[in-house]
């Protein structure tokens, strides 16, 4: 309910120069300070910093503020920070409203006057809205201590083991007939040439032996119901409906896959048998036999980087591990076949990561490095009869500026990586989103690369983007730690934003019941009114916009709040 007794504090953040460079924050804070109900209006260098939060807390006490507006970055980043701050000062956390004047103003506009005017409109809209805010009660749900891990590659096994070692149950679901994932297909790792097999087999053994891990092979997940703390699913085993599982958190660790090298026309992968992919070469290394299709030892081996990566026709991103794998191949070929000529055709040599630059500097053992432009791919073709090789590679060498022809008996394509083909199905089943190329999108690229926008669902390893083994393991451990922290707390706070019914004006039409995606609304026959089960309601607000009498209120997104916000936006658009 709107009362006439509002004392609103407004805090306009500079965010260093991120906002203040494009928005006149000082002028805004002065003019906003003149508005009715605004008890104090300030601009501050970094509102999210400790002194920034303290300033708000002190003002709440000194000015007996009833509501707070923070104009700064996106609420998706710091809404929780400021809610906690005002709660520390004794206000209900929902008495806050934020105006997004960084991501949606200063970073996207280039005219200072326009940006300042728009920021002013957003702040006035927030002031209008916050007058209608109501205190909401905190809600908690109990956490089922069992965790579902999807994918039993190096990341999924790592996460599962960390959680299982902490004494908690894990369901580890793998669609293949054995665990291990992509790492199980590798021979040695870079930069220290440790055995990938040793690495992965020791983890598989521990997973198999662990009393707290149930491993399900040949199994997939098609639909998951519930929400953080209480999810459930029916496993699909070999396509048949299997056992029902119940769990409180989910870690998605489905990894990645190599692109189909056949799509790169220049490389003739489908037509020339001795043009192979890096994973096919790993298989040769594992079998200890580097030989051509005809069973001969290659006299010339060419390695081509960025196959399907960093090119607008295929994937525009760098697949991150291929350069170092190519250098590893050079060392392995050199030690197994000392007489073979090695040609390394690269676009840029990317050797970041611990120990990787050292691997690069020690890889010059009689290898010819040739550079090509990433938009001017070499052409692979069958050699002419009588040539001393079976394959020829034509390329424009970038450093010398010359067109050259490279002889080869075997060409290894360092294929780029992409998310799994069924990533979209997984995303839908667990309720998360994909960015390009079938990789899952994280909650925040910097501040929260492990969580997703769905509470209780975390991502680990290369399903989030191309990663090497150490980074995958680090993210898997991080995801496990996040899960363990919710299990250890035993319950987790969830959004207090739910729907509620005003029984006095509910006409009993039950339209809300028909639109609720969670079946959270039932009908009380005796009173002839709808009743919301707040434990099930997720606060989408669809019922609120459907109710013909306005009996259902979507808490924190009420009609009054949104309508007053709209009038704030437009009023200022025309008058300021």
């Amino acid at each position: 309910m709107k009362t006439n007794d509002h004392r609103i504090g407004v805090y306009i953040c500079w965010c260093g120069t991120n906002i203040s460079g494009m928005v006149d924050v000082e002028a805004l804070s002065q003019s906003i300070g003149q508005l009715p109900d605004v008890a104090v209006s300030r601009d501050y260098k970094y509102a999210c910093s400790d002194p920034g939060q303290q300033l708000i807390i002190d003002d709440i006490h000194e000015y007996r503020l009833t509501n707070v507006v923070v104009a700064s970055c996106s609420p998706r980043i710091h809404e929780i920070t400021f809610r906690r701050a005002i709660e520390n000062a004794g206000l209900n956390p929902y008495m806050l409203e934020m105006a997004n004047i960084r991501e949606q103003v200063s970073w996207v506009h280039s005219d200072r006057d326009e940006a300042t005017r728009k920021a002013g409109a957003l702040i006035k809209a927030a002031i209008n809205r916050v007058r209608y805010h109501e205190p909401l009660e905190k809600r908690y749900v109990d956490i089922n201590p069992t965790t579902l891990v999807i994918g039993a590659g190096i990341s999924g096994m790592t996460a599962a083991l960390e959680i299982a070692d902490a004494g908690k149950k894990v369901y580890l679901v793998e669609k293949a007939d054995k665990p291990g994932g992509l790492v199980a297909q590798l021979d040695l790792t870079y930069p220290h040439f440790d055995s990938a097999q040793e690495l992965v087999l020791s983890k598989i053994k521990r997973v198999n032996d662990h009393p707290n891990i149930d491993l399900f092979l040949n199994s997939t997940i098609t639909e998951i119901s519930g929400f953080i703390g209480n999810f459930s699913t029916h496993l699909r085993l070999d396509g048949q409906e299997g056992q029902e599982l119940k769990f409180g958190n989910i870690i998605v660790a489905t990894g990645l896959r190599p692109i189909d090298a056949g799509i790169i026309e220049n490389y003739n992968y489908r037509n020339i048998p001795d043009v192979i992919t890096s994973l096919e070469f790993e298989k040769m290394l594992l079998e200890g036999n580097i030989s051509t299709e005809e069973g001969k030892t290659p006299k010339h081996v060419a390695i081509i980087h960025c196959a399907g990566s960093r090119n607008s026709r295929y994937h525009e991103y760098c697949s991150r591990t291929c350069c170092m794998v190519a250098l590893k191949f050079i060392h392995q070929i050199r030690s197994i076949l000392p007489q073979t000529n090695i040609y390394d055709l690269y676009t840029d040599m990317r050797s970041f990561g611990k120990g990787c630059e050292a691997l690069y500097t020690r890889t010059n053992n009689n290898t010819m490095f040739l550079m090509f432009d990433k938009d001017d791919l070499p052409q692979i073709k069958t050699a002419n009869p009588g040539d001393d090789c079976s394959i020829l590679i034509e390329m424009n060498e970038k450093l010398s500026g010359r067109s050259v022809e490279i002889p080869a008996d075997m060409v290894i394509l360092m294929v780029g990586m992409e998310g799994q083909t069924d990533a979209k199905d997984i995303a839908r089943a667990v309720g998360i989103s994909l960015c390009g190329s079938n990789f899952f999108i994280e909650k925040h690229p910097k501040l929260d690369p492990v969580a997703t926008t769905t509470d209780g669902v975390f991502i680990a390893g290369a399903c989030q983007g191309p990663k090497d083994i150490p980074d995958s393991i680090a993210q898997a451990s991080a995801a496990a730690a996040r899960v363990l922290s919710t299990i250890s707390a035993g319950k987790v706070q969830v959004e207090s934003i739910t729907a509620s019914v005003n029984e006095d004006i509910c006409c009993g039409c039950q339209t809300c019941i028909s639109v609720c995606p969670y079946s959270a609304i039932s009908f009380d026959e005796e009173k002839s009114v709808s009743v919301v089960n707040e434990l099930i309601c997720k606060g989408c607000g669809t019922c609120g916009s459907t109710c013909p009498t306005g009996a259902i209120r979507s808490r924190h997104y009420t009609d009054e709040q949104i309508l007053s916000q709209i009038s704030g936006l437009i009023e200022t658009a025309n008058t300021m």
């Binding site: 996207v108 728009k118 989103s433 999108i441 995606p517 969670y518 607000g541 609120g544 309508l563 936006l569």
Partner: protein, 141 residues
């Protein structure tokens, strides 16, 4: 005359609003005359919000939700789609140009799509000129 229309955009929290934030993080540029309202789900967009924006003087209203099948709440975007079609019929009866209401699906990773939509919509409405609705309402009241 250089008419800059005012556009009010309703963006769902999970896909479109996050996509608009991504446009910011990526420092993409778009026209400053769009004002964003965040709601949890496009299914929350009540037709009265749209009419309120137009009545207040908005020249266009943009609705953005998750792509079909990707809704954080399963199917709120379909509810939004149905209301959009009904509103378009209502708009026709009211004599409001259909270009003034636009529905688009924008995922959390489609910052550049959001930028393109906003810029294009702004151009289209600039061609139409100011909405007469606000003026008419003011004179009849």
């Amino acid at each position: 005359m250089d008419f800059k229309p005012t556009i009010v955009a309703f963006l769902c929290n999970w896909c479109a609003y996050t996509g608009a934030d991504l446009a910011g993080t990526s420092r993409m540029k778009y026209t400053a005359n769009v004002r964003i309202v965040r709601i949890m789900c496009s299914g929350r967009i009540d037709p009265t919000f749209i009419m309120k924006a137009l009545r207040q003087g908005a020249d266009g209203v943009l609705l953005c939700g998750c792509h079909p099948g990707d809704c954080h709440y399963h199917e709120g975007n379909y509810k939004c789609l149905r209301r959009y079609h009904l509103l378009q019929r209502y708009f026709r009866q009211m004599g409001i140009e259909k270009e003034r209401l636009r529905l688009e699906w924008v995922s959390a990773s489609e910052g550049s799509l959001f930028v393109d939509i906003v810029n294009e919509m702004s151009d289209v409405i600039a061609q139409l000129g100011p909405s007469k609705l606000k003026q008419e309402i003011e004179t009849t009241v």
